[in-house]
């Protein structure tokens, strides 16, 4: 069996442009109370982190992309960005 390595994965999920983002809009409306009135285009999303054992970095990215596209994000209304980096020694 091919040796597997550990990878740290981060998946960021944001609503697509044009999809209502009540959290982002509400945060933006609250900011003037801090005396900050130059903040615009606030978008609220979700961030997921997990560890993944895979044969290679490209394999890890492929697997993490499946997780992102098939579970963490609904492609009809959301877009995801996957970041993979090696963590620790070969397992």
């Amino acid at each position: 069996m091919a040796a597997s390595r550990q990878f740290s994965v981060q998946v960021e999920v944001l609503l697509r442009d044009g999809i209502a983002d009540p959290q982002g809009a509400t945060i933006e409306r609250a900011l003037p109370a801090l005396g900050l009135d130059g903040v615009t285009a606030v978008r609220a999303g979700k961030s997921f982190r997990f560890d993944l054992a895979a044969a290679s970095e490209s394999d890890a990215l492929a697997q993490a992309t499946v997780v992102a596209d098939r579970l963490l994000a609904n492609p009809v209304i959301e877009e995801s960005q996957v970041t993979v980096r090696p963590s620790g020694a070969p397992a």
Partner: protein, 227 residues
């Protein structure tokens, strides 16, 4: 024989007994189908009722899609069995890919709990068979993520194929093309955000939902094997 309706119960579903009571009052028999069930044999129709399946964690319907029963529901639907998703059940059906599109947060950013008027657009689906097109029904909604959306190609397809089943007369939540309910290509899977079971008794202020549930029971009756 009275049609036998299965009402799918996920952890966090909360409208299952409303659905059972409503269809039993209209002459059906109904029972709960646990989300771990791997068979829907013997049911003449399935209802996925409202609530917060799996706590609505991640997104409404996102985890429910992986419940074992959903493979059963998909196979049942593929065989032509009538499947109705109400509110959260509609969200589950879209996440499972049994219906197109998605339900995003309401325009106006508010949870909505109010009676809406919906217009029946098709008389040939599992939930509207025999209901005259243009019939207007007063049925409550109760949701935060009820704003139906899909890409332009999907919307064109839904229009061309006559798969928009119900439209809001006065769009409460920003749904694209005023859509309150859609169906699959086979017309046996229907999802809608309004709660017909909550408008099925004079005590509830409207009996208009019974019009849709009776249509479902007619469909179920027709789907039932001759006894």
């Amino acid at each position: 024989m009275a049609p036998r309706i299965g009402v799918v119960l996920f952890p966090g579903t909360n409208c299952e007994y409303d659905a059972i009571q409503a269809v039993e009052r209209l002459g059906a028999t109904a029972e709960l189908v646990w989300h771990g069930a791997t068979s829907a044999a013997g049911y003449d129709a399935l209802i996925l009722p409202g609530g917060f399946a799996h706590g609505d964690y991640l997104r409404p319907g996102a985890i429910a899609r992986f419940s074992p029963v959903m493979d059963t529901v998909a196979a049942y639907a593929a065989d032509g069995g009538p499947v109705i998703g109400i509110c959260n059940g509609f969200q589950v059906l879209t996440e499972a890919g049994l219906l197109p599109g998605a339900l995003q947060k309401n325009r106006g950013l508010r949870f909505l709990c109010t009676t809406t008027t919906v217009r029946v657009e098709r008389d040939d689906t599992a939930l509207t068979t025999g209901v005259p097109v243009g019939t207007e029904l007063a049925i409550p909604i109760n949701h935060f993520e009820g704003n139906y959306t899909c890409d332009t190609a999907t919307l064109d397809q839904l229009r061309d194929e006559g798969r928009i089943v119900l439209r809001y007369v006065d769009n409460p939540n920003g749904s694209i093309d005023d859509i309150a309910g859609v169906c699959n290509a086979g017309r046996n899977v229907v999802g809608l955000m309004p709660h017909p079971e909550r408008a099925s008794d004079p005590l509830l202020g409207s009996e208009d939902g019974a019009v849709l549930l009776l249509a479902l029971l007619r469909t179920a009756d027709a789907a039932a094997p001759a006894a």
